[in-house]
Symmetry: C2
């Protein structure tokens, strides 16, 4: 237990200060403070010494230098059980500071509100992190508080111990303090790297705020959590059981696809992080039915993502099958009423979810792979018709639709489409030929398939056999990246069979 | 351009200092320093003022407080074009510091060498990061150097500009300085969280060192890099073309499987991040042939990972097909000689690769999912025979082998095995039944399959149909987690058909 005799308070966020001051005053803890915090404390009529008076050194450079003084830092850093430290303090007429309550200039908030570089830079706190780091280092003797969220815990601790703090408390606060300073500088560092377009600095620091600890990870014996760069997620759960790790994973997969579709159009069904049905149709009920039709068995227990506002008619339809999650760009009140009958069903409002051009990353043991997201928007110049037969307007529309979906299917990916609906998806195979077969098998089970079918491949066909299999199964047009040494053979085969063949500029592996 | 009149030097890493000092002295830059750096500078016979003399304030607390002084920090933080700042400096008789050369107490190195908590804590630098952050904030006027690796760049800059630095240089160094402070505190924060077993703190900061920028990401229009928690990777490329993003991804997938196999045994073939063949056999040549036999078409252009030292005989065999990468726990010199004939072939020595019990993470847009790795080692008590028919010793061995491989196949995963060799792998399907079919199709193409075949499923069968399909195809024993409401039906089916059925305690999804 360490008695608190003296506390230094310097807070940018002045929330909940009064209550804390009352408690500190009750235990006769001397206060030192400066600037706005000092004024606030005086406003509440508590006794407090100004830092400049305490150090006998003026506050200068418009506040840039006030606490950076040996009297402050020796008071924090001194080891209480070290004779030589005690002597140094005595010789210099310095006193101990047992509690440091500091939160930093709001760099992150400034960044959210402003793009004035000078203003942003001015909000890099120098004195604050120094005091916090000093106190956190010396947690054996000093308690450090870095957020107004911790006041309650501090008050409880002080009351329980009659003006003292326990080592457990100080250690916990020290750990949270270093989280805070690391997080603070991570944001500053990322800001500098962002303005310099430096995605891959020599030392990279990634930061996140805990959104929630999850019941478990992909499997019950793994523990897990979800974090965000922001304080809250850009999706909002409005009903249902707690989201699981696999739910989150599927939701992000589904939204990546949904948000690539035309605005307010399109239904995506995801199972095991792969789409098992996608359809664009102005009639949202039809869009849903067509998406389901691609693989009705897999859709069971899956996730439906609607890139539009969900209405009652569709809600009634969705209630007919077992789904884990339904995502939509809002739900109308009638739809919500329908879903209330299934209170476990998770509903996600994704209105505010916007795919950002960020570098994404995934770790493997001690390594981290990082790359920009595949957000390329296609336009007609990204494609080249290489067959003699030219695509009809409808074929071209379906080819581009299929190629876009294909990029979100785990490689090797083959997508068969008709009427802007996937009619067969072949995913996750080491062999492209196998992915063709899987997609064809699905297509053959698709009910009432009357229109012609086109195919998309996420990477080039290395041999003719893949495209041959597709054409034999009734596919009339194929889109694929070029790049095989057998491209010519493939074009020849297309021409011999009257197949439309389109080469894309880009490849779209996704693993 | 800003002239350097005065520099503060305080370095823990004293490498390459002499050369730098020569240049600083040539441009008549005044030096301030303290402690070990001061002694080093005097040893080289350069003029230098001690910090305590400069500030007229003694170094105290055994060095914990020396530079934390307003004279130092006003000298760094003062805006040169601000009249009020200039007046403050004049009034206090403070002078400008234009260059800050600081590297920190070696916290990371101490952590690598020691687990003495007090020693580790003592290596948290307080003064160093404060000066660096102050100088980096005021980069408009001050240059900051945080690593001896930057001396050459600094020397070039000073020489080029005759004792001055450009704003571009100062801005770049400032950005690198904040990388450095963020990285430094990230390590400290992670240390505290690790000793407290706190995998999911409220604010999490993940750090990495750039290993290399890659030519591109999963696709040529994505840019990418690989990072590590350490300074170097735990795998070593000893031959061949530069590794691509997809190579790295496949290598990590392959190694995760290889390292789960018995020591010095087992060949794994990976394509598109999924295994397409795995075999354990004391005869390494046989092990390789059996692994290839599972899916010889997919193995083309794949990655072979040998959990043993690679010899000449196998090297000759491997040279017969096109492979992107070969991984082994070392290569004997004869094997290396064989591979020299294919100079593009990438060879990876993974002797030092050890799977660590780390929290892994992957990002999606602004969110990050994080979970512990699925490293569970199986033992016999993790399994329960639920059928009347009990497994033979060989069946049990193959069931555990298949179940272990199954956890590394993208879900839904079905693995068929015989003689500790995969004879069919069904991966990445939204429907478990489809994964069964894919695995069976592979098995039916497996040459010379004489022994009985067992099956593993990464999660429970929701219906009887999956296991029925397997048994109809000749499978004699099945392992799966329990949990379906139809478990009893499945047990009944196993008993009716004389199939061995084993329930595992754990599920093993992997997406």
């Amino acid at each position: 237990m360490k008695k608190i005799k003296r506390a230094l308070i310097s807070v940018s966020d002045k929330k909940n200060l009064k209550n804390l001051l009352k408690v500190l005053s009750r235990y006769k803890i001397e206060l030192i403070s400066s600037g706005g915090t000092f004024k606030e404390i005086k406003k509440f009529k508590f006794k407090c010494l100004e830092v400049s008076e305490y150090t006998n050194s003026p506050e200068i450079l418009g506040g840039r230098v006030k606490t950076l003084h040996p009297k402050i830092h020796a008071g924090i850093l001194s080891k209480r059980n070290n004779k030589s430290h005690n002597k140094d303090l005595k010789d210099n007429n310095f006193e101990l500071i047992d509690l440091v309550i500091v939160n930093f200039y709001p760099f992150e908030k400034t960044l959210e509100k402003s793009n004035n570089h000078l203003k942003i830079i001015e909000n890099i706190d120098v004195g604050g992190p120094t005091m916090v780091r000093a106190a956190a280092k010396n947690y054996n003797d000093v308690a450090v508080i870095t957020s107004s969220d911790q006041y309650k815990e501090l008050i409880d601790e002080i009351k329980k111990n009659k003006g003292s703090t326990s080592i457990e408390f100080r250690e916990k606060m020290s750990s949270e303090a270093f989280s805070e300073t690391a997080y603070y500088d991570a944001i500053i560092s990322n800001y500098f790297n962002t303005i310099k377009n430096n995605d891959f600095p020599k030392k990279k620091v990634i930061y996140g705020n805990l959104i929630e600890k999850l019941r478990y990870g992909e499997n019950p014996h793994q523990h897990a959590a979800v974090y965000s760069k922001n304080k809250i997620l850009d999706i909002k759960q409005i009903q249902g059981k707690q989201l699981s790790y696999n739910n989150y994973n599927d939701i992000f997969s589904a939204l990546t696809i949904s948000k690539s579709l035309p605005k307010n159009l399109g239904t995506v069904i995801v199972k095991h992080a792969n789409p098992c049905g996608v359809s664009i149709n102005k009639n949202i009920l039809k869009s849903y039915h067509l998406a389901i039709a691609c693989d009705p068995i897999s859709a069971f227990g899956g996730i439906v993502s609607c890139n539009y506002k969900l209405n009652k008619t569709l809600a009634l339809e969705l209630n007919n099958i077992f789904l884990e999650v339904i995502i939509a760009n809002g739900f109308d009140s009638e739809a919500l009423k329908v879903f209330k009958k299934k209170k476990n069903l998770r509903l996600i409002d994704a209105t505010n979810f916007v795919m950002k051009d960020l570098v994404k990353f995934s770790s493997a043991n001690e390594s981290v792979l990082t790359q920009s997201e595949d957000l390329k928007r296609f336009n007609i110049r990204d494609f080249r018709v290489v067959s003699k037969k030219k695509p009809s307007k409808s074929q071209l529309k379906n080819l581009i639709f299929a190629f876009n979906i294909c990029r979100y299917v785990k490689s090797n990916a083959i997508v068969l489409a008709s009427q802007e609906t996937t009619v067969g998806i072949g995913s996750g195979q080491p062999s492209r030929l196998d992915s063709c077969q899987i997609a064809i098998d699905k297509m053959n089970k698709f009910q009432d398939l009357n229109e012609e079918v086109v195919a998309a491949s996420d990477a080039f066909f290395p041999f003719v056999d893949g495209i041959e299999k597709l054409v034999q199964s009734g596919v009339t047009a194929v889109i694929q990246p070029s790049g095989s040494i057998r491209d010519k053979e493939i074009i020849k085969f297309a021409n011999q069979t009257g197949t439309v063949l389109v080469f894309s500029k880009t490849r779209h592996f996704r693993h």
